[in-house]
C-alpha cells in the first residue's frame, strides 16, 4: 500500500497488466510523449519498449478499428484519447462494431479492448475539449463503462478493464489526476459492477460520478456540520450499473440526489432517478433531484465556466432545500470566480 496520485495509479495499473500479459499494448496520440500522457504512462516506454507503448497517426476512427482487429487476433490493446471529444470520430467502431462483435457473431468471437477517454475541464477547454458523454456509452449494450474516482479504483479498474474479455470504456477526469490516495501494490482487480459507498449516512443518498464524488464528499462534510448525515455513493460503473446498491441506500435514506458533470437530458442522472422511481419497493420522502450541467455547451471564458459546473456548495444547498431547512444558500454555495477554472492552486495552465 502506498500513497499515489490518480495518474500514477493508472500508470501502475498499466504496468501490472503489461508485466502479467505480454499481449497488453498501449497506443494513442502522445502515449509515449515526454510528459508521459499527463503522467499516466511515465516510464512505461523505457520498461516495455516502443512496440508496446506506441504513438499513432491522428486517425481516431481507423485506429479504433485497428485496435479492435488486434484484439480479435490475440492482443489486448488500450486505446488512449486525450479528450473524450476526439472519440466522437470513432463512434462507429466503438458502438457499431466493438460493442456488438460478440453478439452479432453469436458469441463466436470477443473483443478484449479498452477505450480510455479523458474528460477535460476548465482553463478554457471550452465546448470541444470538455464534453462528458459517458451516458452515450452507458446506453449501448455490449460495452462496459467505468469511471473510477479514487487512485485505488483507478488502478484496480484499469487492470480489470484490460483483463476483461469485453470492450470496456474507461473514463478518467483530468481533475482527478493530481488527487492522492492509498493504492495497493501489485496486481489486483476492482470488480466492474458494484458501486462504492464513499461515505455512509442515513438522511440522504447522494449518487455521484467520477470527479463529482469529491464535490459530493465535500458537501457531505458541510452537511455534517449541520447534523445532516449524507450517504455518498460513488457509482463507479455505469454499465453494468449497480441498481440494487442505489436502491438499498435510497430505501434507507428515503431521499435521493444524483450528481453528474454531464448534461441532464437522457443522462446518467436521469437513469439513476428513473431506476429508483420505477422500483415499487422504494418510496422516497420527497422528490429526488438532479444536479447536472446547465443545458448549454461548455463556455471558454473562465467566469462563465465557473458558473457552469455544480460544486459542493450547490450540492449542500440542494440537500438543505430538500430537507426544508432554511440554510443560508449564499453561505453554503461557493461563489463563482475565475479561480474555479483550475483543478489546484499550483496549476498555471495550459492543459
Amino acid at each position: 500500500m502506498s500513497d499515489l496520485t490518480y495518474a500514477e495509479a493508472i500508470r501502475d495499473g498499466y504496468r501490472e497488466a503489461m508485466q502479467k500479459d505480454p499481449s497488453v499494448l498501449l497506443i494513442g496520440l502522445g502515449v509515449p510523449d515526454p510528459k508521459g500522457f499527463f503522467g499516466t504512462t511515465s516510464g512505461l516506454l523505457e520498461a516495455f519498449g516502443p512496440l508496446r507503448v506506441m504513438d499513432m497517426p491522428c486517425s481516431e476512427n481507423g485506429m479504433t478499428g485497428i485496435v479492435l482487429g488486434a484484439s480479435l487476433n490475440g492482443l489486448k490493446p488500450v486505446l488512449n484519447h486525450q479528450r473524450m471529444d476526439f472519440a466522437l470520430l470513432s463512434m462507429d467502431q466503438i458502438c457499431n462494431q466493438a460493442a456488438k462483435w460478440s453478439y452479432m457473431f453469436g458469441g463466436k468471437a470477443h473483443a478484449p479492448v479498452v477505450f480510455r477517454m479523458i474528460l477535460g475541464r476548465g482553463w478554457g477547454q471550452g465546448p470541444q475539449h470538455s464534453q462528458a458523454l459517458h451516458s452515450w456509452f452507458a446506453h449501448v449494450p455490449g460495452l462496459k463503462v467505468v469511471m473510477p474516482s479514487t487512485p485505488h479504483d483507478a488502478k484496480g479498474m484499469m487492470i480489470a478493464a484490460i483483463e476483461d474479455p469485453n470492450p470496456v470504456v474507461y473514463i478518467d477526469h483530468r481533475w482527478l489526476h493530481h488527487v492522492r490516495g492509498p493504492v495497493p501494490s501489485g496486481h489486483y482487480h476492482v470488480e466492474i459492477g458494484p458501486l462504492r459507498v464513499a461515505r455512509p449516512g442515513k438522511d440522504v443518498t447522494i449518487v455521484a460520478l467520477s470527479y463529482m464524488v469529491l464535490e459530493a464528499l465535500e458537501a457531505a462534510e458541510r452537511l455534517a456540520q449541520d447534523g445532516v448525515e449524507a450517504e455518498v455513493l460513488d457509482l463507479r460503473c455505469l454499465r453494468p450499473m449497480d441498481r440494487e446498491g442505489v436502491l438499498r441506500s435510497a430505501r434507507k435514506t428515503g431521499r435521493l440526489v444524483a450528481v453528474d458533470q454531464a448534461w441532464a437530458c437522457a443522462g446518467m442522472a436521469a437513469e439513476i432517478l428513473a431506476s429508483v422511481a420505477e422500483d415499487s419497493q422504494t418510496h422516497l420522502k420527497c422528490s429526488p433531484m438532479r444536479l447536472a450541467l446547465p443545458d448549454c455547451p461548455a463556455p471558454t471564458s473562465p467566469v462563465l465556466a465557473a458558473e457552469y459546473y455544480p460544486r459542493s456548495g450547490h450540492i449542500a444547498a440542494a440537500v438543505f432545500q430538500m430537507l426544508g431547512r432554511s440554510a443560508n444558500l449564499d453561505e453554503v454555495a461557493l461563489q463563482p470566480g475565475i479561480e474555479y477554472d483550475k483543478p489546484n492552486p499550483a496549476f498555471t495552465g495550459p492543459f
Binding site: S59, G62, N73, G74, F105, G106
Partner: protein
C-alpha cells in the same frame, strides 16, 4: 466459381419462400475475384469482408451449411442466427468476419495484420470491399497505417461501378482511377480485370508474396459487375439506374463461361466432367438447405451480449 454461382442462384431461388428473412447481397457476376484471390492466398491466411460477402466466405472455405442456416436465422447458422446474411464468420478457416457498415471492416482487417506483425506470425490478411468503401475516410486512415507499418495486408477492391443505385459519376472524380488513391499513401496498386480468374490469381499472388516477404500492403482494384439488384434476388436493369445494354455487355464477359471455354479448349475440362461438377455441387447445396431447414429456432435473446465469465 461455379460453386459460388450455384449457391447464390439457389439463394435467389429460395428467397421468395420467405425463409430467408434478411437482406441478401449476391455476388453473381463477381465470383472470379473471390475464387482467384482465394487460390492465391494460403489456407492459414485471414480474410474479412462487408455486406456482399457470401463469395468471399465460401471461397475462403466457409461452411456452406452454416451460411444457409444463418440466412434462415437458425441456431445452427454461423452466427447462431443473430447475424444473418450481412454478418458472416467462420474462424476455423480464417474468415474473421463480415459486417454491413461500408468500409468498417477495413481497419479491423488491418488490425489483424498489425497483431500478426507484432507477434511475428507469418500470415497475410485480405480485406475485401467495394469501390464505395474507398469513399469512407476510414479506408484512408487504414491505408496510411498499413503503409506506415508495412503491414501484411492486401486491399481487395471490387469495382462493380455502382453503390446501390449510384454510379461512379456522382461519387468519385472521373479524372483519376480508384486504385490511384492507394498510391497516394505510398501503397503499390494496380487495376486488374476482375472477370478473369487467372489475372486475379496472378495479381493476388504477387500481392500476397509482397506482404509475406515484409514488403507491406498492396491495393488491387478489380473491375467487375454485379448482375442482379443490389440487395435481393431479382434483376433490376429495367428500373433505370443502369442500362440493359451495359448489363448484356458484362454478361458476355461472364467469368465462369469464359473460364469454362478456356479450360475445355485447353483440354483441362471435358463437358462430361463439367456436368459431374454441376451435379456434385447441386447435391451439396440441396443437403445444405436440408441442414439449414432442420436447424433449431434460436432461443435466449440475451445470450452472447458479453463474453462468458472466464
Amino acid at each position: 466459381m461455379l460453386r459460388i454461382r450455384l449457391v447464390e442462384e439457389a439463394i435467389a431461388e429460395a428467397y421468395p419462400l420467405q425463409e430467408m428473412r434478411c437482406p441478401v447481397h449476391l455476388s453473381i457476376g463477381q465470383e472470379a475475384v473471390a475464387a482467384g484471390t482465394a487460390a492465391a492466398f494460403a489456407p492459414g491466411d485471414l480474410a474479412m469482408s462487408g455486406h456482399r460477402s457470401h463469395a468471399h466466405y465460401l471461397a475462403k472455405g466457409g461452411d456452406l451449411r452454416a451460411l444457409l442456416a444463418e440466412l434462415m436465422g437458425r441456431e445452427n447458422g454461423c452466427c447462431r442466427g443473430r447475424g444473418g446474411s450481412m454478418h458472416l464468420i467462420d474462424q476455423s478457416v480464417g474468415f474473421i468476419g463480415a459486417v454491413p457498415i461500408v468500409g468498417s471492416t477495413i481497419p479491423i482487417a488491418v488490425g489483424l495484420a498489425f497483431a500478426d506483425k507484432l507477434k511475428g506470425i507469418q500470415r497475410v490478411t485480405a480485406a475485401f470491399f467495394g469501390e464505395a468503401a474507398t469513399e469512407e475516410g476510414v479506408f484512408h486512415e487504414s491505408a496510411n497505417f498499413a503503409s506506415l507499418h508495412r503491414l501484411p495486408v492486401v486491399f481487395v477492391c471490387e469495382n462493380n461501378l455502382y453503390s446501390v443505385y449510384s454510379p461512379m459519376s456522382v461519387r468519385q472524380p472521373s479524372h483519376r482511377e480508384v486504385f490511384q488513391q492507394a498510391q497516394g499513401h505510398g501503397i503499390p496498386a494496380e487495376q486488374v480485370d476482375g472477370n478473369d480468374p487467372e489475372a486475379v490469381f496472378l495479381s493476388a499472388k504477387k500481392a500476397r508474396s509482397r506482404a509475406a516477404s515484409g514488403g507491406g500492403p498492396t491495393f488491387i482494384e478489380y473491375k467487375t459487375y454485379r448482375w442482379r439488384e443490389h440487395c435481393g434476388p431479382a434483376f433490376d436493369n429495367h428500373i433505370g439506374y443502369r442500362t440493359e445494354g451495359e448489363f448484356e455487355a458484362w454478361k458476355k464477359r461472364d467469368p465462369i463461361e469464359l473460364y469454362k471455354q478456356k479450360m475445355i479448349f485447353q483440354g483441362h475440362l471435358s463437358s462430361i466432367d463439367k456436368e459431374e461438377i454441376r451435379e456434385r455441387i447441386s447435391l451439396e447445396i440441396l443437403e445444405a438447405l436440408k441442414f439449414a431447414r432442420a436447424g433449431g429456432i434460436p432461443r435466449g435473446l440475451h445470450d452472447f451480449v458479453y463474453a462468458p465469465k472466464s
